[in-house]
């Protein structure tokens, strides 16, 4: 294997981990975001309070601190997990908190007349949410959700610091072993850009498609 082939193969392995972390954490964040966002709108004060604590704690501290806490402190309480699980959990919980705010404000910005219409039509609460409110709120949320996905993708680079062998981690190893610092870190920036840029573009396209003839 030639020198450059070795570099390409190591970065390739890292890229797989980066993408896997992104997908798993994004799914977790989306699910958590919807659950917490809906719970935030609950009539029960206690539920609202619990979710508010979750959201404020994860938005008020740094992702890196959360990542370290989950990976280094939880084992002290007998909860040990792999770097991958810790990474997905930390990023998912962190972005879930931000997503819940997007979900909450999206649902709240659906026109009041829509709720009145569902009451007039004798919809149940679940029907109202599923058929009327969420489909409209989702379109309002879409630009924000897209932005979050790109931020989430970029934030996966932090997992290198808890020794998960992602793209950034592999680049660091390569830098230490080959000393081709300029080439390796330039390649690393370019790889991230080549993935994030089409994502940004794609999100804008999706946004336009979904809002076509609606707004």
């Amino acid at each position: 294997m030639s020198f450059w082939e070795l570099i390409a193969s190591m970065l390739g392995q890292g890229l797989v981990i980066t993408l896997l972390t992104t997908v798993l954490a994004a799914v977790l964040a989306l699910v958590l975001g919807f659950v917490a966002g809906l719970m935030r709108l609950s009539k029960n004060k206690f539920i609202r309070f619990l979710v508010a604590i979750y959201v404020e704690v994860f938005r008020g501290t740094s992702l890196l601190v959360q990542l370290f806490w989950i990976y280094f402190v939880l084992p002290m309480f007998g909860i040990t997990m792999t770097a991958m699980t810790a990474a997905v959990l930390a990023i998912g919980l962190n972005f879930g908190a931000y997503t819940s705010e997007v979900v909450r404000s999206g649902i709240q910005s659906v026109d009041k007349g829509q709720i009145e219409a569902t009451i007039a039509l004798n919809f149940t609460r679940v029907q109202r949410m599923r058929r009327i409110i969420i489909p409209q709120a989702f379109i309002i949320m879409l630009p924000n959700l897209g932005n979050q996905l790109i931020e989430l993708f970029k934030s996966t680079s932090l997992v290198a610091l808890i020794t998960l062998t992602d793209l950034t981690y592999q680049a660091n190893v390569l830098n230490a072993t080959t000393l081709q610092t300029t080439q390796i870190f330039t390649a690393l920036l370019v790889i991230y850009f080549v993935i994030a840029w089409p994502m940004t573009k794609g999100m804008k396209l999706l946004e336009r498609k979904m809002t076509e003839g609606r707004m």
Binding site: E56, T168, F193
Partner: protein, 218 residues
């Protein structure tokens, strides 16, 4: 599990590193504000080449992770003879990264100033500089102040990344203590609590500012 005595023993050492964290945030934020405004003005330039170049740089910075940019500044710049200490490299990285976000905020603020204001400036024979400093910016900035403030808090929470380029801020201090005593629980929890203690009141204050701004400008 949780040792209060140990927690109080390490608290002063961690808190003393707060100066570095806040210093990096403030200097980085000032840099981000200045650079952000420069990007906005360059992108608005009539010269197509200037616009395209500035726009491409902003897009590239926005679509790559801050951590990798920090590595680049800290490890690649010295290859070209520009060695920076961790604080300077960190502040440049932080400032440069968030300048691209702030430039977007400034753009939306400027675009919300009505075309009539530009016409008035022309009618009154204001110079370009005067048009910006006396008419456009004083109207463009106040409505977006809450968003700008939000980025300040975001930057504050991103400073632990600077530990990756060996800056000894609060997270690195906690890590160092943990490495010495093999007890990470108290130091890392204290770091989290310090962040929460500082950023939560700030975000509440911002929400109030936001309410006042919405009441005034809409």
């Amino acid at each position: 599990m949780w040792d209060w005595y140990y927690a109080f023993e390490v608290l002063p050492e961690i808190a003393s590193a707060l100066g570095v964290t806040i210093g990096a945030t403030v200097v980085g934020f000032i840099l981000a504000l200045i650079l952000g405004l420069i990007w906005t003005l360059l992108i608005r330039s009539k010269n197509k080449i200037v616009t395209t170049v500035a726009d491409s740089i902003v897009k590239f910075i926005r679509n790559t992770p801050l951590l990798v940019q920090l590595y680049f500044i800290f490890y690649v710049f010295p290859q070209f003879g520009l060695s920076l200490d961790p604080f300077t490299a960190g502040v440049i990285g932080l400032g440069l990264h968030y300048s691209t976000y702030l430039s977007e905020v400034f753009r939306s603020g400027i675009e919300s100033v009505g075309p009539g204001q530009w016409e008035v400036a022309t009618a009154l024979n204001f110079t370009t500089k005067k048009t910006w400093t006396r008419i456009i910016l004083p109207q463009a900035i106040p409505p977006v102040l809450p968003v700008i403030g939000n980025y300040f808090i975001t930057m504050f929470k991103e400073t632990p990344l600077l530990s990756a380029i060996t800056l000894v801020e609060i997270l690195q201090t906690a890590q160092n203590i943990g490495a010495g005593t093999f007890r990470y629980t108290e130091p890392l929890t204290i770091v989290g609590l310090l962040f929460l203690l500082l950023s939560y009141p700030a975000s509440i204050a911002l929400r109030q500012l936001e309410n006042r701004v919405t009441a005034r400008y809409s």
